[in-house]
Symmetry: C2
Subunit: 120 residues, 2 copies
DNA sequence: ATAACATATGAACAAATATTCATATGAGCA
DNA sequence: TGCTCATATGAATATTTGTTCATATGTTAT
């Protein structure tokens, strides 16, 4: 009870202050962890993942993506907006249609890394 | 209207059949995409991300992790179960306490890859 | 200006999931 | 055996978030 401000949770007799302190010092800042989580979060939805994977092949208009994935234009558009806000895709307008493409090679790299892990 | 089974969504006059067909052929199988999404999904939560990051430094008991993150033992335990089921962490019992550690280096690799991207 | 079409978007709804609460399990010790 | 502590877990709750629906915006052509 006299050790470093234990949180209300359990008795905390077993807390190892040295380890806790050492780890606390090496934690990356809140911001970095937040952005990191946010990044992975975007890849953690099957609709968004499929959109990104589809764009591996070529840029594509919203309508084509929707057709390909068998989903409504609206659903795809909402997700594209999120992907764009995360700078994972970019948009190019050509007349009435808007073509989306992967923003850069980071996306491919990250997804391929994940694939490596999934394929053991 | 005579092209390949357009989905109810919009008029679909702009659909590009060649592109759609080409992409459709190169899509990875459902299973792979599912597992891939599931993997990223685990990293897409700040509690789990922080748990994993904490374990970068050393193995740690549930109580210490809860103290470190300022969360209840129960919340941490639930997340650890999920992480364990995904084989991202492993558990080792020593008397009353259970120590958790990263299952292998894949976890570090994936997270570091993400960090690279976040840090531009 | 009006019509037609591709895309974007706000609000409502539905589904998924993280956390809490109460309690069970399991281990060490008197 | 009975007690204490660390962890696990089921059920309820609260929150987040993906999709739908209706409609707005922006572009081209007549």
């Amino acid at each position: 009870m006299t050790d470093n401000t234990p949180v209300e949770c359990c008795e905390r007799v077993t807390v190892h202050p040295e380890v806790v302190e050492q780890v606390r010092r090496n934690m990356p800042d809140e911001d970095t962890l937040y952005h990191l989580t946010e990044l992975f979060h975007v890849f953690g939805d099957s609709t968004r993942m499929r959109i990104l994977y589809v764009l591996f092949a070529s840029e594509m208009c919203v309508c084509d993506i929707a057709t390909l994935l068998g989903m409504t234009q609206s659903a795809i558009s909402h997700q594209l907006r999120l992907l764009k806000s995360m700078r994972l895709v970019k948009a190019r307008r050509e007349g009435k249609t808007v073509f989306y493409a992967l923003a850069d090679d980071h996306v491919k790299t990250i997804i391929n890394q994940g694939l490596d892990h999934v394929n053991e």
